[in-house]
């Protein structure tokens, strides 16, 4: 230990001899790493798996069960009609299942208050257990029947009431009476993969939740994708929405085992065959069952600009590394005389390598501080430029740890070659100079 402190002191002496090139080396490394790291943060957060333990068990079924024969561009629609969901619900193969869509509305406590614009997820009971949503107060609807009961997120409860335990409180949802059944705990599924078919998975969570049947009854129109394949008027949701070919529902099922998945796949095939036999399925069957793990790539929702940017910043980091090692080579060569002297006085190469390790450690510490500052600034800047991605700019422990490792490796690379050159020189020649 005492010896290592000595090595650190020697490193400091070396820095003091040429502080400017050293500061420049640190600066270049910090900028390269910081920019790379800011970008890596977004890349990592945008591509992370929000439910790693079940993203291969949650599935998104799609049927092209529509009342007209498709001739060109026959892609299976990504959303289902109410009718189709009913048919898909005629089985107990899935462990749980929920249909959903989203709408906009206004919420307030009384007519004297200014209404609060809210985004509403209109869904079924199993939504909350499918996606591991934590409940703070109250309980989720006991079944899928219509009820004028809303579930609030923690932040919308705080916005409306200034507190969270508001079970049983009355609210006006677009001036119709509803009561609060439950309040969710802080929850942010990033990315919200259940909304990936609308390329909507990078936005914030919805503010309140309403039962599907009530949503239809109250005529809440979808604010994302809805397609009509017959003469149903999509604006007449409460009267025509349940029977016509108005496709607007996302549907998620949980299939825990391969056997379950196999059986469900077969169930879908049989369903489509029966429909065909009944003359309600004119197109060729083209069923899809996509796991949540693959949902973004299935719908082509990968943000390619972020990917390209990540590549550019990686190249930038490489350029910075080259520059930094060039600077550091010069620094070492000007110190070569001292290296040789130490060797002549009996320092072995491995002792000089320990010296190098002290150099690396110091450089890594400075670089990490610099990279954290530039990285932080970079993220702030990106949030200004691309506010849509600002939800994905958080640093977590694995991310920070990998920054530490990368910074250390970079410092090591920058120091390795120069110090090897310096410690393998011909001894006597350099001492003469």
């Amino acid at each position: 230990m005492e010896q290592f402190i000595y090595y650190l002191k020697v490193s400091f002496k070396g820095i003091k001899r040429a502080p400017l090139p050293y500061a420049l080396t640190i600066f270049i490394l910090s900028v390269g790493l910081g920019v790379f790291f800011a970008n890596a943060t977004f890349y990592y957060q945008l591509n992370r798996d929000p439910l790693p333990h079940k993203s291969d068990k949650l599935f998104f079924p799609m049927l092209n069960l529509v009342p007209y024969e498709c001739s060109t561009d026959c892609k299976t629609p990504s959303v289902l009609s109410y009718n189709n969901v009913e048919k898909l619900s005629q089985t107990d193969i899935p462990t749980q299942a929920a249909a959903m869509y989203s709408a906009d509305g206004y919420l307030r406590q009384s007519t004297e208050q200014a209404p609060l614009p809210v985004s509403i997820r209109i869904t079924q009971r199993d939504f909350f257990s499918l996606f591991d949503v934590p409940v703070l107060h109250g309980s989720i609807w006991p079944d899928n029947s219509a009820r004028h009961e809303v579930i609030l997120t923690k932040s919308s409860a705080e916005k409306l009431f200034g507190r969270t335990n508001v079970i049983g409180e009355k609210l006006l949802l677009d001036d119709r009476n509803v009561t609060v059944a439950a309040v969710l705990d802080t929850w942010q599924m990033l990315p919200r993969l259940y909304d990936a078919n609308n390329q909507n998975h990078l936005s914030d969570t919805d503010d309140i939740y309403l039962p599907l049947e009530t949503g239809y009854d109250m005529n809440y129109l979808s604010n994302t994708q809805s397609q009509t394949f017959d003469d149903t008027d999509y604006r007449q949701l409460s009267t025509q929405g349940r029977t016509g070919a108005l496709h607007q529902l996302q549907y998620w099922v949980q299939l825990d085992t391969p056997a379950q998945q196999q059986r469900y796949w077969q169930f879908m095939a049989n369903l489509v065959q029966d429909e065909k036999a009944a003359g309600r399925h004119p197109s060729a069957p083209n069923n899809q069952l996509v796991a949540m793990r693959n949902i973004v790539s299935y719908f082509g929702g990968e943000s390619s600009d972020i990917k390209a940017f990540a590549l550019v910043t990686l190249l930038f980091l490489l350029v910075c590394l080259f520059n930094a090692s060039h600077l550091s080579l010069n620094r070492y060569l000007s110190n070569q005389y001292e290296f040789s002297l130490r060797r002549a006085l009996g320092a072995s190469r491995s002792q000089l390598q320990l010296q190098m390790l002290a150099d690396v450690l110091l450089m890594a510490i400075f670089t990490i501080i610099g990279a954290l500052i530039t990285g932080f600034a970079g993220i702030k800047l990106m949030n200004q430029l691309l506010p849509a991605n600002s939800l994905f700019s958080n640093w977590d422990l694995p991310l920070l740890l990998s920054l530490l490792v990368i910074a250390f490796v970079c410092s090591y690379l920058v120091t390795l070659y120069p110090s090897l050159r310096a410690s393998f020189g011909t001894l006597n020649q350099q001492l003469k100079e």
Binding site: Y6, K13, L345, R349
Partner: protein, 232 residues
């Protein structure tokens, strides 16, 4: 203690080959004080560097304490340099931004001595060269003679058994040169073997033995005949 047999050293550059040492045979006994003399470029520094394992050689053998140094690993050579050999360079080779104390400490650091032991050895060496009062000075604050004495202190602080000195008085005026010479004699009397390169005939005479090198060949190695000649 030192035995060189048919040792040759050739410096190769793109244009020329310099035979710096040709088939050198040399035997140095423990406790000797030998002066190496010869014209400039004759190979004195080269010989000393090889003895100090700072330089490799092309053929022949170098036995130190009866053991060949051929094929020793880097760490074994470093250890040998660190523990057995003290080196006084043609320049002083002090580190400018290290204090006198820290300069002398360098070789002791790499030997892994305890702090107290290091301190005691440094102070002993500083007393011997008469610079104890200036141990916190920096090299630039000392005269040339004093700097050379620091270099000597650094060389002997590790209590080496061999001291290799390359023109230790070359940069000094005659008074300082005499002081340094007296210091080396004192160190020799305490049992340290010394090989010293010098141009000064007086100094060469004061040494117990005079080895002359001309054009890479040893000429006056009076105490030693090549093995081949003995057996003949």
């Amino acid at each position: 203690m030192i035995t060189l047999t048919n040792l040759s050293k050739i410096f190769r550059t793109e244009l020329i080959e310099t035979h710096a040492l040709r088939e050198v045979n040399l035997q140095v006994e423990e406790g000797e004080f030998a002066a190496l003399t010869g014209p400039s470029g004759s190979g004195k520094s080269t010989l000393l560097n090889i003895l100090g394992t700072l330089e490799s050689f092309d053929s022949g053998d170098y036995l130190l304490d009866g053991k060949s140094i051929n094929g020793l690993s880097d760490s074994a050579l470093s250890k040998l340099r660190n523990e057995k050999i003290g080196f006084i360079f043609q320049g002083f080779n002090l580190i400018k931004d290290y204090s006198i104390f820290d300069n002398i400490e360098l070789p002791l650091r790499y030997r892994g001595l305890k702090p107290a032991e290091r301190k005691q050895r440094i102070e002993h060496a500083l007393e011997l060269v008469g610079l104890h009062a200036r141990r916190h000075y920096f090299p630039s604050q000392l005269s040339g003679g004093q700097q050379q004495r620091v270099a000597i202190a650094r060389a002997i602080a590790g209590k080496p058994r061999i001291l290799l000195a390359d023109e230790p008085t070359g940069n000094l005026d005659s008074l300082m040169a005499r002081q340094v010479m007296e210091l080396l004699e004192q160190i020799n009397q305490q049992g340290c073997t010394i090989l010293m390169v010098t141009h000064d005939p007086d100094q060469a005479r004061r040494a117990g033995r005079n080895i002359q090198i001309i054009d890479g060949q040893l000429h006056d190695s009076t105490l030693y005949e090549p093995l081949s000649a003995q057996s003949a």
